[in-house]
């Protein structure tokens, strides 16, 4: 990869779950970087391993998941070798994550202000009063009007958009260096979605955090991110700067993914729906995982697993047919 001040460096991350035929390979040699102060989009269809990747970074893989190989470097430490106590200090203070399930991500029995204040108490060791003041200030920064009063509300008294703002406020309370946002706008209506993305961008600019944005909304990626990582069936297929990827997608999968986006300004042919599920692909370990759906499939694709190839300064492709 290019030399930059790398914040997060994932190398050959392979995770399996026990199952038939020796288990399911859920992540297969996932390799990518997130540099300081950039927004990286992680896209791919459901089941492609986006969320698993982020859970692995947080140290939250389900107990049955086994890390076969790989390294996750964060600020010069391999997170996979850190103890639980070290991870606990890292979470919240250095890496934070916004989850998919907006509504249930806040404790229904605790006032939202207290929930944000707790982060300051845990991570900064502030006393209750200071933490409360900081929490109100944080909610204010998240664009919550009348923050002092809202801090005393319970989650069910706030709208979903508000809850998401509180959650983001909670996660960035201690200004983490890396924020993982796993489909942060699922279940929100479109106007609120736009507001939340604006907020995430604003937070990024204010705190200088890097953001790993997991989504399947390519429009959002184009608008928000600087670089994109495309995943399919647990493998990184293509990785490039946003403009580059949208202008010149090299991997057949990326091309199909982009052609499936509906646009108002163009009449396009409806793309053919691909047969089969990505989960089935996870069993066949030899060969390219996209082979069965690929329009440009070669004989070697069935036999040899392609390796990531750098084709331009900041453009990587995992394909036999693109080099």
């Amino acid at each position: 990869m290019t030399e930059r001040d790398e914040l997060l460096r994932i190398r050959d991350l392979t995770v399996t779950f026990p199952g038939r035929d020796g288990g399911v390979v859920i992540l297969d040699k996932v390799t990518f970087d997130v540099s300081g102060k950039e927004i990286v989009g992680l896209v791919g269809e459901s089941g492609s391993g986006k969320t698993m990747t982020s859970l692995a970074v947080m140290g939250f893989l389900p107990p049955s998941g086994r890390i076969q190989q790989g390294e996750i470097w964060f600020k010069g430490r391999n997170l996979l070798e850190c103890s639980e106590a070290e991870m606990r200090k890292t979470r919240g203070r250095e890496i934070a994550m916004i989850f998919q399930s907006t509504r249930s991500a806040l404790n229904p029995l605790m006032r939202v202000g207290d929930q944000v204040a707790r982060v300051y108490r845990i991570q900064r060791g502030l006393d209750a009063k200071e933490a409360q003041e900081k929490a109100v200030a944080a909610l204010n920064r998240m664009g919550i009007p009348d923050a002092e009063r809202r801090a005393r509300a319970y989650p069910h008294q706030l709208s979903r958009g508000m809850c998401q703002r509180v959650l983001i406020g909670m996660m960035v309370a201690c200004e983490p260096a890396l924020l993982i946002a796993d489909e942060p706008t699922t279940g929100l209506d479109v106007t609120i979605q736009a507001q939340i993305f604006e907020l995430i961008k604003a937070v990024q600019q204010a705190t200088g955090a890097s953001i790993l944005l997991i989504t399947h909304d390519l429009g959002v990626v184009a608008e928000t991110c600087e670089r994109v990582v495309v995943m399919y069936a647990g493998q990184v297929m293509e990785m490039a700067a946003v403009e580059d990827l949208f202008a010149r997608p090299r991997h057949p999968y990326t091309q199909r993914l982009l052609s499936s986006v509906l646009r108002v300004d163009k009449v396009i042919e409806m793309p053919a729906v691909d047969a089969g599920l990505t989960e089935d692909v996870a069993y066949s370990i030899a060969g390219c995982r996209f082979a069965s759906r690929c329009p440009r499939v070669l004989p070697t694709c069935w036999e040899q697993t392609p390796l990531g190839v750098q084709i331009e300064a900041d453009h990587w492709v995992t394909c036999h047919n693109c080099g």
């Binding site: 947080m58 939250f60 606990r88 200090k89 890292t90 979470r91 919240g92 203070r93 934070a96 994550m97 989850f99 399930s101 907006t102 509504r103 249930s104 991500a105 806040l106 404790n107 229904p108 029995l109 605790m110 707790r118 982060v119 845990i122 991570q123 319970y154 989650p155 069910h156 008294q157 959650l167 909670m170 996660m171 309370a173 201690c174």
Partner: protein, 296 residues
């Protein structure tokens, strides 16, 4: 009435404690059975608390002059074979039974939820062991289990409480375990872990409080059962011992006189036991309906 109100105020939407209390009168209007149960219970509690001091008799004071008298103005529930006033003994008995039942429900609730939460949250071998132990405990009818324990430890009041609470704890363990099992995966638990909370704090601060509703409802039902069990044990001579006035003791003392026509010695304490168990069951059932409605 702290138990019923707090049971109402838990659960997902339950954050709104204030709204709930405000809506309490509305709930009462919609659930007449709950209202009836609460009124009956309140009357019993007031009578048991203040009643004895309004009467000129002591619970243990014998009066050979007036043995086995039928209900009259001087003795509204008659007197027993030692000339003791039945009403005063019934009221003292109710006081003791209420105290036993609250202690039982409270200790079974605390112990059961803590163990169940721990078991469900950490899972694995701990969970397996705890579940097998509760299986064994539940293999015995709870009354038989309580009987065996009091027979073993000796029948003092604390032992009766301990025995009944112990025999009820599997219900609480299982209920709480099940709730925790699903709640530990929810967003707020993950979010709490995500900002650096250690596991034990995620459990006791974030997960457990959200899992208490079924256990609290169960606790109100246990209040009624505890009264029946405690007086049942006393009736069989395995619980509270005479001459301490307690529902079961009083019924037991009166049985030998029923056949000769002195029915009041057994019937009034029996009616009191039924009344209290009835009130608790009404409250518990209504709370179960209300919380079930909320979940839908």
């Amino acid at each position: 009435m702290s138990v019923p109100t707090s049971a109402l105020s838990t659960r997902l939407s339950a954050g709104a404690f204030v709204q709930r209390v405000g809506g309490f009168s509305k709930v009462l209007r919609e659930h007449r059975m709950l209202l009836l149960g609460l009124v009956v219970l309140l009357v019993v509690i007031l009578a048991a608390t203040f009643g004895p001091s309004l009467l000129p008799y002591g619970p243990l004071k014998t009066d050979p002059e007036s043995r086995l008298q039928p209900p009259s103005l001087a003795h509204p529930m008659g007197t027993d074979n030692f000339g003791r006033d039945v009403l005063v003994r019934v009221l003292y008995g109710a006081r003791l039974d209420l105290r036993i039942s609250f202690l039982v429900a409270f200790s079974a609730l605390i112990a059961g939820t803590l163990v169940g939460a721990f078991s469900g949250y950490y899972g694995g071998i701990v969970d397996d062991v705890v579940m097998r132990i509760t299986d064994v405990m539940q293999a015995f009818p709870s009354f038989v289990l309580a009987m065996a324990i009091t027979a073993m430890l000796g029948n003092t009041i604390p032992n009766v409480v301990l025995a009944i609470a112990f025999s009820y704890s599997p219900f609480f363990i299982r209920l709480t375990r099940g709730e925790v099992l699903s709640a530990r995966e929810l967003g707020y638990a993950e979010a709490a872990r995500c900002v650096g909370n250690p596991e034990w704090r995620v459990l006791y601060l974030h997960v457990l409080p959200n899992c208490l509703t079924p256990a609290l409802v169960q606790a109100t039902l246990c209040l009624g059962w505890a009264i029946l069990n405690a007086s049942g044990l006393a009736f069989l001579g395995l619980g509270v011992r005479p001459p301490t006035p307690e529902g079961g003791v009083l019924v037991g003392e009166g049985t030998q006189f029923i056949i000769s026509g002195e029915w009041w010695i057994s019937v009034f304490p029996g009616a009191m036991i039924v009344l209290m168990a009835f009130a608790f069951n009404l409250i518990g059932d209504s709370l179960r309906d209300i919380t079930a409605q909320e979940e839908r």
